[in-house]
Symmetry: C2
Subunit: 266 residues, 2 copies
DNA sequence: CGGGCCATTGAAGTATGTCAAAGTTTGTGG
DNA sequence: CCACAAACTTTGACATACTTCAATGGCCCG
């Protein structure tokens, strides 16, 4: 499916190569011309521009932001690819994963407003592989240009730091979730986490569609797809949720939390 | 999953409270006067100054860096405390944890050169509680001053970004570790991770002393202290390691990896 | 309409959690 | 410096939740 593969495997030290407008992007066919200013975007209230005033926005709008569409299953970048862009999700859902000899470990899910690629700041190459779970559109921010914009705006610097901090906290919470001893607590926590994410993005926290397979959830939570399925069925039997394939309805979110998440911490 | 909803709820917007030299530090009795320049520190090759040239060092040395000593069991900061400082470990080991109704979840261990507190960038208060596992010394970096230094030095900005990226990657790897289905793989992976950390800091990767209890390890790895103990005993029986209380000798690190970590990924 | 992928469910074996007790180390106060 | 107490570690026995293997059924896409 994906033929393009520029895996380096070697860490590229900072400073990063300067962005050069004459150089084509990695996958030129799928990158479109820059659009309207960042803060007019539908997800700007979740994304980089959040909280920035006019002058800071100007700094941001100096950046040549490309857009890229992804179909389900397409990869945005792979572990080891040279870091040139941060990506912001405009719509759709992606998963970030570590490839393994037999399979993969799913380390994160990303939705509208999320920034992907911060992990590459450590050594200049992406630490994870990002795959679209459905049709997605992302903004490609050339990191070298972002650095220039950051040189001009302290508010932008702080916003970037804030986003990285938020992602770190999210990762702490994922680890905490996965470290639960009872699988039920992990699956229940996962549903509640998703519900919160949906709400933050203006969707119903009560009814939503899982964009990832049971296997992805299992990998994320450190269990098997069968156990995930059984947990969902069990929650449904107890009346906490309704499940139909990937459609989830949280009938009693607080009951779910009380019965499994809080309780499970022994 | 998350009992303290304020932690992950609506983010408190930056800008953060400005550093004011007239304001006393949180625990003034234990903060000492600034010392020699940052790059003369014994762990500078691991810490903030790494890779900075003279002019960037100057920017860094404008910061009033306090030192603080911690005894075993003392807390550096608590979840929810107002964020004013990043802390760099000079020596000793700390754990970062989430308090829970009955106990805690250990989310990270920090050693010399590590920066603690990045998680507070998300909303202006610390997401975790940090406790010393032994006698420690840390540098307290007033964040507002660090921001000013960052305004003056793009290299420093990139170094901070690099450190945050590195911590994010580390967290991804922890999640991956904890998501292993077999506990043996988690404990083995933990030992190998520790070994690498020791080596990076100039200690023997083969023999080292665990600074944390079996309970801490269990919490970190999402299992029980008994299981951790049993795993260690099992590794010792198979000749991969030698254990005497908290003293660990990795007799056959690669054998350990082959037998449990790589193998365990089904 | 058919084929492939995904989800559900069952049965059986096993790893791990839980409870309990003994042994060891560490720290404290006399 | 010793003695005691507290905290930590190890080990065992048992119950159970989870993984594994397997088969069936549903959904979606071509």
């Amino acid at each position: 499916m994906e033929t393009h593969s520029t895996r380096t495997g070697v860490a590229v030290p900072l400073p990063l190569p300067r962005w050069n407008p004459g150089v084509r992007l990695l996958r030129p066919a799928r990158v479109e011309a820059p659009r309207a200013p960042c803060h007019t975007c539908g997800v700007s209230h979740l994304c980089l521009p959040k909280g920035l005033d006019d002058s800071d926005r100007d700094a941001l709008d100096q950046i040549t932001i490309g857009r890229r569409r992804l179909r389900k299953g397409q990869k945005l970048y792979r572990q080891g690819d040279t870091f040139l862009f941060l990506y912001a999700v405009r719509f759709g859902t992606c998963k970030a994963s570590f490839p393994l000899p037999n399979g993969e470990h799913v380390s994160a899910f990303h939705m509208a407003g999320d920034i992907m690629g911060f992990d590459a700041l450590a050594d200049g190459s992406y630490a994870t592989t990002v795959t679209a779970l459905e049709s997605c559109e992302v903004c490609a921010l050339p990191y070298a240009q972002l650095l220039e914009a950051c040189a001009a705006s302290s508010a932008l610097r702080q916003r970037v730091a804030q986003l990285m901090g938020a992602q770190l906290v999210r990762e702490y919470l994922v680890t905490k979730l996965v470290a639960h001893r009872h699988t039920e607590a992990r699956v229940a926590g996962f549903l509640l986490q998703l519900s919160k994410w949906m709400q933050e993005r203006g969707y119903s926290p009560r009814e939503f569609r899982l964009r990832m397979s049971r296997a992805d959830i299992g990998s994320y939570l450190g269990t098997t797809l069968e156990t995930v399925s059984r947990c969902l069925s069990q929650f449904a039997r107890h009346g906490h949720i309704r499940v139909h394939n990937r459609e989830i309805e949280l009938v009693d979110a607080e009951g779910l939390r009380a019965a499994y998440v809080d309780e499970g911490r022994a």
